[in-house]
């Protein structure tokens, strides 16, 4: 099976060839339907990796391939969510969810005809993350956690094949975070999409991912990768087992070393 997302020997510097490298000789391959997590010290190039993989930045050296094709313009099959919810304050929650459908083809040209169907889809999605009947509210009438859920829904509404999450839960309290882990876990299980998650939370990475990649400090490379073998579906309880703790410890040691 060939990789769905493959970066091969990628180097990148912001501001052209003269700038300091953000990532250097970075190689990573994520299989179709796989859940990959990327951890590493702050500023090591994790967000850069996301931008390279989605065609928002282009590498100085090396190749980026997604779904078998070289990436030379922004991807159209990706859904993205960031640490900040980045919702549009002048649109209701539901209208925010419909935004991708106003842009991505073929939905874009079918939006006026199939609007009812799309609204129903958005409402189902909201219900699936525990936001039933909140669609008419404006984002600023929602709590931070609710906004983050909405942002997740927006990343999923056009049924992307690839979901890119850049520290999406970092600003949330521990309980909401765990709740959303389960939401993501279930979405991944149902839709079988490929997910790349950047996080600083090692428990989060180990709980959700099939494989965890550890990056070096800047310029970032992959230092280590760890396959997580816990059977799916995983329960939150698994995070309290000694085996789980051992893996978290092992990853932590890698990062501590990377920081030096």
């Amino acid at each position: 099976m060939s990789a769905f997302v493959a970066l091969d020997g990628v180097s990148h510097a912001y501001g052209g060839a003269g700038g300091a490298l953000a990532v250097d000789a970075l190689s990573i391959a994520v299989q179709t339907g796989e859940f990959a997590a990327v951890v590493g010290p702050s500023g090591c190039g994790k967000s850069t990796l996301m931008k390279l993989a989605t065609g928002l930045q282009f590498p100085l050296k090396g190749t980026v391939r997604v779904a078998g094709e070289a990436v030379n313009k922004p991807l159209k099959i990706a859904g993205m969510a960031f640490q900040a919810p980045t919702l549009l304050p002048w649109r209701t929650t539901l209208e925010n969810l419909l935004l991708p459908l106003e842009i991505v083809q073929p939905h874009r040209s079918e939006l006026s005809r199939r609007r009812k169907e799309y609204v129903a889809r958005a409402e189902n999605l909201l219900a699936s993350v525990g936001l039933r009947d909140q669609g008419d509210k404006y984002p600023w009438e929602l709590s931070g956690g609710m906004q983050q859920r909405t942002s997740l829904c927006r990343a999923l509404i056009h049924e992307p094949q690839l979901l890119m999450l850049d520290e999406p839960f970092a600003a949330l309290d521990a309980f909401t975070r765990e709740e959303l882990w389960c939401v993501i876990r279930d979405l991944h299980a149902v839709r079988k999409i490929t997910v790349i998650l950047v996080t600083h939370d090692l428990r989060e990475a180990v709980f959700l991912a099939d494989r965890v990649f550890v990056m070096s400090s800047r310029p970032g490379r992959i230092l280590a990768e760890k396959r997580i073998e816990f059977p799916r579906p995983r329960d939150i309880e698994v995070t309290f087992t000694p085996e789980f703790q051992d893996i978290v410890h092992e990853l932590r040691a890698h990062i501590v070393k990377a920081r030096q």
Partner: protein, 257 residues
């Protein structure tokens, strides 16, 4: 409504009335001559006596201001979108605009008179020239400060630049735009009055100039009052428009408290 709320509500009126009483008292107590500083009662009297000319000229000033302002809105919006759209256009136009804005507009009036003769047209142009700049700057700022993450979200969906402009750029620029209208309308008003008092036979600016020549000091002050009323009314209209159009951007309690 409790007591504090009532007092807050009334305070603009109380302050105005207080100022007028103080003024009246000072003029009488210090025996200030009317041709130097007329008391409010004399100004009020002039206001009634010259109600006809005041109303006629106020109307002309209002018309001049509104036409110049409308031009400024159209042109300023267009230029602002252009400047916000492209870094090259921004880099090319910005120094020009700064230089242009630095010129005192009263210095431009003679040129306008040379081109268009005295009267209505130079006043409209002065109002336009003085008021379009804040609109351009605000619209361009709104576009330039789109959150990069949001841009990434849209780009990763395959959005074109035009899409990003339509879905995010323009809506998020609206509060900046409507905010700038409040400044622009006041400036437009300044522009038309300047031009009227330098080069016109109509308008409140001209009326005040004539009153000055005839030493009708209370009428000068009545002209000022007319200007103040017009200015407040236009500002209020823009503030209401702003509130109406961009309610989502005005949810902070800060300005309301």
């Amino acid at each position: 409504m409790n007591r504090t709320a009532i007092i807050v509500r009334l305070s603009p009126w109380l302050f105005t009335i207080g100022l007028l009483i103080l003024w009246e008292a000072a003029v009488h107590a210090l025996h200030i001559p009317t041709f130097f500083l007329p008391p409010p009662t004399a100004v009020a009297y002039a206001f009634v006596e010259f109600a006809g000319p005041l109303a006629r000229n106020s109307w002309i000033t209002l018309e001049t201001t509104m036409i110049g302002f409308a031009l400024a809105v159209g042109f300023g919006l267009l230029l602002g979108l252009l400047v916000g759209w492209s870094r090259t256009i921004y880099a090319g136009l910005y120094p020009l605009m700064i230089g242009f804005n630095a010129i005192p507009k009263v210095a431009v009036v003679p040129i306008l008179v040379l081109w268009f003769g005295i009267g209505f047209v130079p006043a409209v142009f002065t109002a336009f020239l003085i008021s379009f700049f804040p609109i351009v700057v605000n619209v361009a700022t709104g576009l330039a400060t789109i959150e990069p993450e949001l841009e990434d979200v849209l780009k990763a969906l395959g959005a074109s630049k035009l899409d990003i402009m339509r879905k995010v750029g323009i809506p998020r620029t609206l509060p900046y735009f409507f905010g700038s209208l409040k400044i622009a309308i006041t400036l437009a008003f300044v522009g038309s009055v300047i031009s009227e008092s330098v080069a016109s036979n109509y308008g409140i600016g001209n009326l005040m100039l004539q009153a000055q020549a005839q030493f009708q000091v209370p009428l000068i002050f009545a002209g000022l009052v007319a200007l103040a009323i017009e200015g407040i009314a236009m500002y209020a209209a823009m503030a209401i428009l702003e509130r109406r159009m961009t309610g989502w951007a005005q949810r902070s309690g800060f300005a309301q408290s």
